[in-house]
């Protein structure tokens, strides 16, 4: 256990470093974008005078390192500042959307992870059967359709006939049942998008172990195929499966802007794209850091879990 704690501490330190690098990359990239906040807000109607006035008001005339330093010192004290485009505190803007994003990610994961595990185990159990082939081809087809297209098809089938709404209208006061009903189609879309990856990894990880001597042993002892897969193969195959689940969870939190647009779902991805378009660097930075933290923490959790589920890894440290 001591080893695990040490690993967590070490990884958290590295995670902090990652966040720092992310903030520099994002800041640099946003700086490199043509135009700035003032010209983005004023758009076609900008004149040299109004641009100058706005730059002065927003403090955009400071050199980039000065602005980065100001942002960094604020962020380190937990103050992400005020959105320059809307003049609202960034924490307020993000709070509710972060909740929405996490809700949708968990909802989709709650559908996708069990589905992927069951399908993956069954495919491994009946490997090379028709079931295996069809499940595999079906899952592959599902991920090879662009997300927005999967969404349109689901809307055609399930929303136009009146079963589910084609757009999500939730507020902080909506009841859980309402939220689940409203967000069903986006969650289903994401489920279709992420299931294939997890299912294929589950199947591959299990099959990978099926040639091992200890499985052979169990088989010779006369254990049923299902028992062999569930009791002998699956526990040892958990590490790669957990890793893939973590990666997909990270995707569900950070990569779903297209689904948000199609279902008008007020999540962080849309806010980030809007903020990039307006060059509202402080907001972009805050969201990028949330996304990066989610990624780092999920990977860390996955590593801890795989270490815990696999004593051999633990000994290696």
């Amino acid at each position: 256990m001591h080893e695990v704690l040490k690993m967590v501490a070490q990884r958290l330190a590295l995670g902090a470093l990652t966040l720092f690098v992310v903030s520099i990359v994002i800041f640099g990239a946003t700086e490199l974008l043509p135009g700035d906040l003032a010209s983005a807000i004023l758009g076609q109607s900008a004149t040299p005078e109004t641009l100058a006035a706005m730059r002065a008001q927003l403090g955009l005339n400071d050199p980039a390192p000065v602005r980065y330093w100001a942002w960094l010192t604020g962020a380190l004290q937990g103050d992400f500042g005020v959105s320059l485009a809307t003049r609202r505190p960034i924490a307020d803007m993000i709070e509710q959307r972060l909740g929405n994003t996490l809700f949708l990610a968990l909802y989709a994961a709650a559908l996708a992870v069990p589905l992927a595990l069951v399908l993956g185990v069954l495919a491994a159990l009946w490997r090379n059967s028709i079931f295996d082939r069809v499940a595999n081809a079906g899952a592959l087809s599902a991920i090879s359709f662009p997300e927005f297209f999967v969404a349109y098809i689901l809307v055609l089938w399930l929303a136009q006939s009146g079963y589910f709404p084609s757009m999500v209208r939730i507020s902080p006061t909506s009841s859980l049942a309402d939220k689940l009903y409203m967000s069903f189609l986006p969650a289903l879309t994401l489920t279709l998008v992420v299931t294939a990856h997890m299912m294929r990894m589950t199947r591959a990880a299990i099959i990978n172990l099926m040639a091992s001597p200890y499985i052979e042993m169990a088989r010779l002892k006369g254990a049923s195929p299902l028992r062999i897969v569930l009791r002998h193969a699956l526990p040892n195959a958990l590490a790669p499966i957990i890793n893939v689940i973590a990666l997909n969870l990270a995707y569900l939190i950070t990569g779903v802007v297209v689904v948000e647009v199609v279902f008008v779902y007020p999540g962080l991805g849309q806010l980030m794209v809007d903020s990039v378009a307006k060059r509202d660097i402080a907001v972009v930075q805050a969201i990028a850091l949330i996304f990066a933290s989610a990624y780092v923490l999920l990977n860390l959790t996955a590593d801890v879990l795989s270490t815990l589920t696999n004593p051999r890894l633990m000994k290696r440290g």
């Binding site: 991920i143 090879s144 990028a288």
Partner: protein, 304 residues
């Protein structure tokens, strides 16, 4: 014809085709390969067949397409049949011709992108694993940071900075993909560099380049090939998602990802036009991965 009936018919006929294709292949090939061909599963035969057809279409696109890629041949959204077997698109260009040219452009771009991502990512990943130390640390931390940024939004940023020519599109998607490849190849290579034969080669005084090419790469190929299969297909999706967010390939070039986007609205009215390019992508994805699965299976040595 209802959809399930159509699907079942499609499945049956594709497997029948694959069966014939496999039989033909095992006859036509010299003895050694013929055995491999005879023993391969039908799915793999199906995959190889589809890939072969795609390559054929891509290479001979100008000969196969009834009209030019950019040519406006009539009014928009003409129904299927007659001179335009798959109708026309929203500008009145022949849909079939655009699908055929799309094969060439899409597969070409996807291949160039994935190949570049793998060359860069795999080389850096293996190199980092081999050298270790500060080089490994610096590279890995940097790649970690890049991976922690959502890839679609990051691509969007980069493309807005560097412009949207086909070359920048390939470079940007390849750069983002290379981080994923780096991570996999590094972890695979880390398992290999501790092996005795690497130590032996090092003692022989072999250089880094030799070690990568002759010792590590051949042993790391299987997982990399599997990754290649998926990454290759994801390039189409990335292009499609980018065009959803307002960036895309230079018109009037036809590519499937953008074609799905351009026609996607029609699905709302039950018009299946956008299913054509989407289906073309899906079929290729399935085919590539069938072949990859077969290769992985052969590499794992599991006999059943």
């Amino acid at each position: 014809m209802s959809l399930p009936v159509f699907l079942i018919l499609f499945l049956i006929s594709s497997f029948a085709l694959a069966f014939v294709f496999r039989a033909g292949l095992s006859r036509a090939l010299p003895h050694n390969q013929a055995i491999i061909a005879r023993d391969m599963p039908l799915t793999a035969a199906f995959g190889i067949m589809v890939i072969a057809v795609y390559l054929f279409v891509a290479i001979f696109a100008p000969l196969l397409a009834p009209f030019a890629e950019r040519e406006v041949v009539g009014s928009q959204f003409q129904p299927w049949g007659g001179a335009h077997p798959l109708g026309t698109d929203r500008l009145g260009r022949d849909m079939l011709s655009r699908l055929i040219y799309g094969a060439r452009n899409t597969v070409g771009i996807a291949f160039a992108t994935t190949a570049l991502a793998f060359v860069v990512g795999a080389f850096l990943g293996i190199w980092a694993a081999l050298r270790g130390g500060w080089l490994d640390q610096v590279l890995s931390r940097f790649v970690d940071a890049l991976m922690a940024i959502p890839s679609l939004i990051f691509s969007l940023l980069l493309l807005t900075i560097f412009g949207t020519s086909v070359l920048t599109l390939i470079l940007v998607i390849a750069a983002v993909d290379a981080t994923r490849v780096y991570r996999i190849s590094r972890s695979v290579a880390q398992g290999i560099v501790v092996m005795d034969y690497i130590e032996a080669a090092r003692l022989r005084g072999e250089g880094t380049w030799y070690l990568i090419r002759h010792e590590i790469l051949p042993n790391a190929l299987a997982p990399l090939v599997a990754e290649f299969g998926l990454r290759f297909c994801f390039v189409f999706l990335t292009i499609s998602s980018l065009s959803f967010l307002g960036l895309g390939i230079k018109p009037p070039m036809a590519d499937w990802g953008s074609m799905v986007r351009d026609n996607a609205t029609l699905i709302t009215f039950g018009d299946i036009t956008p299913l054509l390019p989407a289906g073309a992508i899906a079929l290729l994805t399935v085919a590539v991965n069938f072949v990859v699965d077969w290769q992985l299976h052969r590499a794992s040595g599991l006999k059943e």
